[in-house]
């Protein structure tokens, strides 16, 4: 193969020439219980993780409860009387009962009373009342408060970190993306319009993998929007300038409007009544944050922003979605997808919005299907190496990021 051809076909690899090349040792170990334990302790419990948006608890006293198997804990997130958001382990420091029960997911409270002996805490986690206090030794009660979890916010996103002293701040962790995406996530423009929850049977990494490459879309999503583009005979691919690999995070920009295709009847009607999918050419906006559609490509459809390790942001002009992956084992993962769009102004726009929601929902489901398929076979150990194309460089990068952290954790904890 001539050098010219090589340059043409592997431009992203050339761009990131310091990345290791060739086949990568990836075998059944990456989906083993031991590897998952290291991911959980060495990555998940030490990283800034987006758990909700501030708009999920708009008022003073609003709280939400998230039970996260990945983190071995249940977390109360509450807005205190000054409007500040705090996070605590959902556990009474007396004898370890949960403060909010299994079925209490949200609400508004000034105080949290333990259902066991009625110890009472405020929204700052301070112990404010102990019934029959006289029976305790006052010294034992001194300084007791709920176990606090590190919390930081950015652009309306609430991040937590289980590490009591995180190695880096949220700003340091997000790096360039911290400023780059500023202003896009406008709560007045984009409202929560849906939440999908799936109890999947996949290794969480296999879902991340398909989110950060477009090579599969020509096959897996052939019957969906991107695939309909592929049906036109033009192969979907990501431009080298639209791939960004950060220390831990990854961003990909996906194009639209290549190749001719006919809109399906419902798709055409939806586009007529509202800009509901990134594939509606009218949806492509240029007035977005500098870090979105970074090259200001007029044929841009959407960005995939992967906040390491488990958050996939789907960012486009008409909508954004936050996909959160909460693995509970090496082969099970809760996937929660929140979708934000502009409110429809009439019933026809509502129908158009439904089209946008369903096309996104079903693309996600197609990706879960392949991730579950791979999960069923990984244990066989039949595959010892992965082969990555130029288009899959972010996946190569992701495995390296994770493996380095897992190995570091194992070296320090064995």
């Amino acid at each position: 193969m001539s050098t010219v051809m090589k340059d043409k076909l592997r431009p992203i690899t050339e761009k990131f020439s310091d990345m290791p090349q060739g086949r990568v040792d990836i075998d059944d170990a990456v989906a083993s219980p031991a590897y998952f334990k290291a991911e959980k302790e060495g990555i998940f419990k030490k990283s800034w993780l987006n758990i909700a948006r501030e708009s999920d608890l708009p008022n003073i006293g609003d709280f939400i409860v998230k039970t996260i198997d990945t983190l071995d804990t249940s977390i109360i997130i509450v807005r205190n009387k000054e409007g500040k958001i705090n996070a605590f382990h959902n556990v009474c420091v007396h004898r370890g009962m949960t403060l909010c029960g299994k079925h209490e997911h949200s609400g508004n409270k000034k105080y949290f009373a333990c259902p066991y002996h009625a110890w009472v805490y405020d929204a700052d986690g301070q112990l404010v009342d102990v019934p029959d206090r006289q029976f305790f030794d006052e010294k034992d009660l001194e300084g007791l408060s709920l176990a606090k979890i590190s919390l930081a916010t950015w652009e309306g996103f609430i991040f937590i970190n289980l590490d009591s002293e995180p190695a880096e701040t949220l700003e340091e962790s997000l790096g360039e993306l911290y400023k780059g995406l500023e202003g896009y996530f406008d709560d007045d423009k984009y409202k929560l319009v849906n939440r999908y929850e799936m109890d999947t049977q996949m290794n969480w990494k296999f879902y991340v993998d398909s989110s950060i490459e477009a090579y599969h879309a020509n096959v897996v999503h052939i019957q969906n929007n991107t695939g309909q583009n592929a049906q036109s005979g033009t192969i979907l691919h990501v431009d080298k300038d639209a791939v960004r690999l950060y220390e831990k995070h990854r961003v990909l920009g996906l194009p639209s409007g290549f190749g001719e295709r006919e809109l399906s009847p419902i798709e055409a009607l939806s586009f007529q009544y509202g800009a509901t999918t990134p594939y509606d050419v009218r949806a492509a906006g240029s007035d977005m944050a500098p870090g979105i559609n970074v090259n200001k490509d007029p044929h841009w459809a959407f960005d995939i922003v992967e906040f390491f390790p488990n958050i996939i942001l789907f960012v486009s002009a008409p909508l954004y979605a936050v996909i959160r992956l909460w693995p509970s084992s090496e082969k099970e993962c809760l996937q929660v997808t929140d979708v934000y769009m502009s409110e429809p102004k009439n019933a026809a726009e509502r129908v158009a919005l439904e089209y946008g929601l369903l096309s996104l929902r079903d693309v996600i489901r197609e990706d879960v299907n392949t991730a579950e398929g791979s999960t069923t076979m990984v244990k066989s150990g039949a595959i010892k190496e992965y082969v990555f194309s130029d288009q899959e460089i972010a996946v190569r990068h992701s495995y390296k990021t994770i493996d380095d952290m897992v190995k570091t954790w194992l070296a320090n904890n064995q």
Binding site: D56, L57, P58, N59, D62, S106, N108, K191, L192, V193, N194, R195, Y196, E197, M198, D199, T200, Q201, V220, Q223, N224, Q228, S264, P265, I266, E267, L269, S270, Q272, Y273, E343, P344, K345, N346, A347, A348, E349, R350, V351, L353, E354, Y355, L357, L358, R361, D362, R365, E366, V368, N369, E372, G373, T376
Partner: protein, 118 residues
């Protein structure tokens, strides 16, 4: 008894089965249904969808009249099932591993309710 706006009364016989008011109900109805039975509904409504959309454009997102609500919910069911005939040529996305029962959705209606609770 007219359960749809006059103009669309020809679709009345589908109201009981297809005027479903949540995405979960529409999704469950599709994924547990049979393509031939669903096609009967799709073929009847798809011809009228341009007129239905034009009519719904003048209605609130949550219409007050029951007959408008029914029409809106049937239009949403049409969107849900259209993918069988317009996109996939099968009942669902490729789902050798995926079990539709493992998905729950809040839906637009649910998400709005969540807003109101707070």
């Amino acid at each position: 008894m007219n359960n749809l706006p006059n103009k669309f009364e020809g679709l009345s016989k589908f109201v009981a089965e297809w005027a479903l008011d949540t995405e979960q109900a529409r999704f469950d109805k599709r994924t547990s249904g049979k393509v031939e039975e669903i096609k009967f509904f799709y073929d009847a409504i798809i011809q009228q969808m341009p007129d239905i959309m034009a009519y719904l454009k003048d209605k609130e997102v949550e219409p007050s009249e029951q007959e408008d609500k029914n029409l809106l919910n049937m239009a949403m069911s049409c969107v849900e099932v259209s993918r069988i005939f317009e996109v996939w040529n099968q009942l669902d996305v490729r789902s050798d591993y995926l079990d539709p029962k493992r998905m729950t959705c809040l839906g637009y209606e649910g998400a709005k309710k969540l807003d109101r609770v707070k």
